[in-house]
């Protein structure tokens, strides 16, 4: 009897708790707009700032929540989310080279604009995006699948103190017969590959500028994205030259510089020797760098940041981490345009499975608006995709890395936006890396990569 009483009390208590919590949880349960952004100061912090602004305006109905996800797992996360249809996130930051892999799962933004006529910000100014960025980041198969979010071109970081030292300048001129000079804002002539190589050689063994080991340049060549992007930069110089255009035809924006206009592998030694020449340029520069084959973007920035190397090729967005006050090279770094810039960068796109397409569009529009691009660059050094920010005189005077952005976009090489890109990246890393480790000659390695790429593209029905 006593037990029965005890049980009825417990049941009463549970019912009371449920009665109290259920209505309150229903009231509290707000719609959530989930945003997955690549984890970096510029990108995820910018998204967080805009999410706060968004929540002030629309927070009573829907709350924007940003999740920062590491570069290494972002693509995997996206693919899993898209294919299982779980709709974990409504908005994603998408590296443009992944668009071919995930493009089928992204919203055509034109559909949203048509469906919700009032959604478009009249001051958005689509024309403020440089055409190359709109075509590369925002367009796929003729559809608008995202808005340009972060511009990423490969740039050259260098030690201003070394390049400006009169003693070194004189020694360089004596040895190479021309001036040691790094192109600045306003210069009409940019760096050539020959100059870059000479500079790297000079600061490796032409002069003793530090105690202990010293390198002219720090280069990445680790398999994966670093090797794919870096070789694209070297090959792009040949691919986009008059000779290259004659041999390979115009660059198809979806297939990028690595393919001919009829989608054959352009660096294939069977077509021309330009691929080999580009690889030899890359290998020649590698002699003046800490072992590139073990270095990705971050680890190749370290020798420069710690003062071991005189130059470093990396993404423009690395400026804050390289030059922060704790860096040994703080106050000694300058940026210049590379002989043949290569385009990286990100768009923000909407998951086709989202339940909140309108709100997602409003969010990505705010994140990439003309007004906020300037603010985000100043606050978080988010590398801008808008010309109005890149060419802003006040900002250029304040931030010494900004000037390189607009000239870097003149004729940059681009990577393919095709579904099998991860396979191509893997095949290149696996085989081309052997040209650095000495397991294969450059010619044999490149031929093997070209054969493998042709097989992958053919098997996927892309040619």
């Amino acid at each position: 009897m006593k037990n029965v009483k005890k049980w009825t009390w417990i049941i009463r208590l549970v019912i009371l708790l449920l009665a109290l919590t259920l209505p309150s949880s229903t009231i509290l349960a707000k719609e959530v707009l989930r945003i997955a952004i690549m984890s970096s100061h510029g990108m995820s912090d910018s998204a967080e700032a805009i999410a706060k602004k968004f929540n002030k305006l629309y927070g009573d109905k829907i709350e924007a929540q940003v999740t920062a996800i590491g570069f290494d797992i972002l693509l995997d996360k996206m693919l899993t989310d898209f294919t299982t249809g779980s709709g974990s996130f409504d908005v994603y930051s998408v590296g443009y080279h992944w668009i071919g892999t995930v493009g089928n799962y992204l919203y055509d933004l034109e559909e949203i604009r048509k469906k919700y006529p009032g959604v478009e910000d009249p001051n958005y100014d689509f024309k403020d995006f440089p055409p190359i960025l709109w075509d590369t980041y925002a367009t796929w198969k003729g559809k608008n699948i995202g808005l340009p979010f972060v511009d990423g071109t490969l740039v050259l970081f260098y030690r201003v103190d070394l390049f400006n030292k009169p003693e070194y300048k004189a020694k360089f001129k004596q040895k190479y017969g021309y001036e040691l000079h790094m192109p600045q804002d306003g210069d009409t002539k940019f760096l050539t590959f020959k100059q870059l190589r000479d500079y790297a050689e000079f600061f490796t063994k032409g002069i003793k500028w530090r105690d202990g080991e010293q390198y002219g340049i720090s280069l990445p060549a680790a398999s994966g994205d670093p090797l794919l992007s870096m070789y694209a930069m070297f090959f792009g110089a040949y691919r986009r030259s008059p000779e290259g255009l004659k041999i390979f035809g115009q660059v198809d924006p979806d297939y990028g510089d690595y393919f001919t206009s009829d989608h054959r592998v352009a660096f294939d030694p069977a077509i021309s020797d330009l691929g080999i020449k580009a690889l030899q340029d890359y290998l020649a520069l590698s002699k003046f760098s800490p072992n590139p084959v073990t270095r990705d973007w971050i680890t190749s920035s370290e020798p420069f940041r710690s003062g071991l190397a005189a130059m470093f090729i990396g993404w423009g967005g690395y400026w804050p981490s390289i030059t922060d006050p704790t860096s040994p090279v703080h106050g000694k770094v300058g940026v210049s345009v590379l002989p043949a810039p290569h385009l990286g960068g990100w768009c923000v796109a909407i998951n086709k499975k989202t339940k909140h397409p309108k709100e997602a569009y409003i969010f990505i529009q705010m994140l990439t608006s003309k007004e906020d691009t300037k603010y985000l660059y100043e606050a978080f050094t988010e590398t801008p995709t808008r010309l109005s920010t890149m060419t802003d005189a006040r900002l250029k005077a304040k931030y010494p890395d900004l000037w390189v952005m607009a000239p870097s976009l003149k004729n940059p090489s681009v990577r393919p936006k095709i579904p099998v890109l991860p396979k191509l990246e893997y095949a290149m890393g696996r085989t081309l890396g052997k040209a650095w480790t000495g397991e294969m000659t450059p010619e044999v390695a490149l031929k093997a990569v070209a054969e493998e790429w042709n097989r992958i593209v053919k098997q996927a029905g892309l040619r």
Partner: protein, 301 residues
């Protein structure tokens, strides 16, 4: 006064009781082991490509036939077998050595034992990251070598040394596992066996050869089985230290499965590789158990 009803033997309840009691356990087994394995095999027999948004299409043994000519698969399999065998062999030797040494009453032995267990408790991702820094061209290991007047080693840039680096990281972390198992085995050996060997005038080697080792074989088999299973599935350390490089000289099967499944989006193919890995693991473990007659020994014990 409460009364209990005695269920007569052979009644319906008695006959079905054991089946009913087994049901929850069976349910868990089906949900967590049998169904996922069935689904894995089903995927392995299908063409399922995430990037092309295709639904799984049954293709029979198509993926397995493709694996036969996949040089990446064979490369990864070779690397896995080589690195796992060397790492486990070294862990075995170090673990046994340390256990023999610390089984004696040494000064500070308890502290050393506690310290030896620490590597095992560190997440493999952290171990990988640490070793990546240690083996860096400008890392502390090369710095030490330079101070000793030895030239630097290209740990991560040379295909052979990259393998060595991964093996060393694994050995550092998992030798302590072998050590614990061996130490437990050593402490279970009755002292009177050693006492009688002493009386008979047996040398240290003969005592080890005819008393310690035979008594340790069951422990060795258990340790070996667990470590082989684990080493063949190695992922985190390789991913962090070398990412399979340089030029994929340290690519292992689990990393290859991850790449084919979640990078290339070919889930069907990745599942087929996983099925092969499962068969391989089962076969290797079966051989170890058979060769060491573990089953018989446990039965005897």
């Amino acid at each position: 006064m409460s009364t209990y009803r005695v269920v007569p033997a052979g009644s319906v309840f008695d006959r079905f009781a054991k089946h009913i009691f087994i049901l929850p356990g069976l349910g868990v087994l089906v949900a967590l082991v049998i169904y996922p394995t069935y689904y894995l095999i089903r995927l392995a027999l299908s063409n399922f490509d995430l990037t092309f948004m295709t639904k799984p299409v049954f293709i029979g043994l198509g993926n397995f036939i493709q694996i036969l000519s996949d040089t990446y698969f064979w490369g990864a399999l070779g690397n896995t077998l080589v690195m796992a065998s060397i790492a486990v062999a070294l862990e075995f030797v170090f673990g046994l050595g340390m256990a023999l040494l610390l089984n004696e009453d040494l000064r500070g032995g308890r502290i050393i034992k506690s310290l030896l267990i620490v590597p095992m408790m560190i997440p493999p991702v952290v171990v990988g990251l640490n070793f990546k820094l240690i083996f860096d061209q400008f890392g502390p290991l090369n710095d030490l070598l330079q101070r000793l007047g030895v030239s630097c080693v290209d740990w991560l840039g040379n295909p052979l040394m990259a393998k060595v680096s991964v093996i060393l990281a694994d050995v550092w972390q998992w030798s302590s596992f072998m050590f614990i198992i061996f130490l437990a085995g050593l402490q279970a050996i009755p002292q009177y066996l050693y006492d009688s060997a002493k009386v008979d005038g047996a040398s240290g080697w003969r005592t080890f050869r005819f008393i310690t080792w035979p008594m340790l074989v069951p422990s060795a088999t258990v340790a070996l089985t667990f470590r082989v299973m684990d080493a063949l599935k190695i992922f985190d350390v390789v991913y962090m230290v070398t990412s399979g490089g340089p030029s994929f000289s340290t690519e292992v099967l689990s990393l290859y499965i991850y790449r084919t499944g979640f990078r290339f989006g070919t889930l069907g193919y990745a599942s087929a590789v996983a099925v092969i890995m499962l068969i391989l693991l089962t076969a290797i473990i079966e051989v170890i158990i058979k060769e060491t007659r573990l089953g018989k020994r446990l039965e005897w014990e």
